[in-house]
């Protein structure tokens, strides 16, 4: 029962849009339901980061702690987006803090579990990597825009 619910939830999420059903079935095995309270950390910089999160509802702040400044939010992630890509590459450690700004409902996907399945089925790996690359590229483009400091005083 739970598996069917997860499948539906995954299939409905923009990140997994058009992922062929056999792959969805494979991925579902690595899924767990998670809920975060407002203010709760989802992951911390430097911690083992062996999950990525498919955010269904709520808002997450991706932060960097800057000495003398405090935590600086560099991006917020909302329902419909994904959070975390450090599971893809060794040493699988989170590079930023992620903190729930309000009640966050998400599906967490186990990195080790996924990596094993991708090694076994490169097609699945390719499908997932395609989607992640798109996410990373779009974040990079956004970051570049933010870097331009367009609203700043030149």
């Amino acid at each position: 029962m739970t598996i069917h619910t997860f499948e539906k939830a995954l299939a409905e999420h923009p990140f997994f849009k058009d992922l062929p059903e056999p792959h969805l079935d494979t991925v579902v095995g690595c899924v767990a339901n998670v809920v975060f309270q407002p203010g709760e950390f989802i992951f911390r910089e430097g911690q083992a980061a062996d999950h990525f999160f498919v955010v269904r509802e709520g808002k997450v702040a991706v932060e960097v702690f800057v000495p003398n400044k405090g935590p600086v939010t560099i991006e917020t992630i909302e329902g419909g987006e994904v959070l975390g890509w450090s599971w893809l590459f060794a040493p699988y450690k989170a590079r930023f803090d992620a903190r729930a700004l309000n009640a966050v409902r998400a599906l967490s996907l186990d990195g080790a579990c996924l990596r094993t399945k991708c090694e076994k089925d490169p097609n699945l790996g390719y499908e997932l990597l395609k989607r992640f690359t798109e996410v990373v590229v779009s974040r990079l483009e956004a970051t570049r825009m933010q870097l331009l400091d367009l609203y700043g005083n030149d």
Binding site: P71, T73, T76, N102, L150, Y151
Partner: protein, 287 residues
């Protein structure tokens, strides 16, 4: 000619090259480098009705003159409102103005936002930084005639929460049931519970009908380019996108040549342009 009385007698200017005197009634500090002047005509000068998106040339005695968009309510032209960012000699001099000081005003000039053309459509306002100031008169107009329009969406991006323009009004607009307001900043500290990211991301998730919506965009040119792209990706046609341009201006009436952008004079063919008409030049360097 001034007499010995305190108030000089002034001719009403039919000469758009001569500034008329306005008095500062109120100064509001908005953000670190941005402030709003509320002006009223004095000494026989007359207020002039304006259309949203138009600008005046504002003159500080002995310093200089700059083009500044009108950011007040077009339904109340007797109160002239300008939100100004201090970036040069003249605007820094304006920053020092106090209640009672005089400012020279000539205008209004320019092609306005096509608020009438948008009747029956969803209207999406996309503003970045001080770009919210030239958008605000159009917003006032649309909200005053709310029933004539479809969904009204305001997407606003600022540098940090402290650099947001008109935060009180943004909250008021957001509290209306018939307006969607989405605000994002480039970076923030812990107190900010809102979005951090780029305006383009807001376009992607915004609730408007891309096929019929009209978009009014104002902000840095780079932001306009990416916002227009995000709109295009959602299916909005370029002929439904309107942008406000900025160029060096000296005369504001199309005879000094400074504001040329390709074949157009931004002072009279703009500052508001339909995006499909200018898109070719928009992507070009140093035009």
């Amino acid at each position: 000619m001034a007499t010995t009385d305190a108030t000089p007698v002034v001719v009403s200017a039919s000469d758009p090259m001569r500034p008329e005197p306005f008095e500062v009634r109120h100064v509001t500090k908005e953000t670190g480098d941005t402030f709003t002047l509320t002006l009223a005509p004095v000494a026989g000068a007359r207020f002039r009705p304006f259309a949203p998106g138009q600008f005046n040339m504002l003159y500080v005695f002995g310093v200089g003159e700059v083009p500044i968009s009108i950011s007040g309510d077009p339904a109340r032209p007797e109160i002239l409102v300008h939100t100004i960012r201090a970036v040069g000699a003249t605007t820094r001099a304006m920053q020092k103005l106090q209640k009672g000081d005089w400012v020279g005003v000539r205008g209004p000039f320019g092609t306005p936002w096509p608020v009438d053309q948008a009747h029956g459509h969803d209207v999406v306002f996309i503003a970045g930084g001080i770009g919210l100031a030239p958008i605000r008169p159009a917003l006032y107009h649309v909200l005053l005639h709310r029933a004539l329009y479809g969904r009204v969406v305001i997407l606003y991006g600022a540098r940090t929460p402290r650099d947001m323009l008109y935060p009180k009004e943004l909250r008021e607009w957001r509290s209306r049931f018939d307006v969607v307001v989405d605000v994002t900043v480039d970076r923030a500290t812990m107190e900010w519970q809102g979005s951090v990211g780029v305006v383009t991301k807001m376009v992607q998730r915004s609730p408007f009908d891309p096929q019929s919506a009209m978009a009014f965009i104002c902000g840095p040119e780079v932001m306009i380019r990416y916002a227009a792209q995000a709109l295009q990706q959602r299916g909005t046609t370029d002929s439904s996108i309107f942008v406000s341009m900025e160029r060096n201006m000296k005369c504001a009436v199309g005879v000094c040549g400074h504001c040329q952008f390709g074949p157009w004079f931004v002072c009279k063919d703009g500052p508001v342009f339909r995006y499909d008409r200018i898109q070719r030049f928009f992507g070009m360097r140093e035009v």
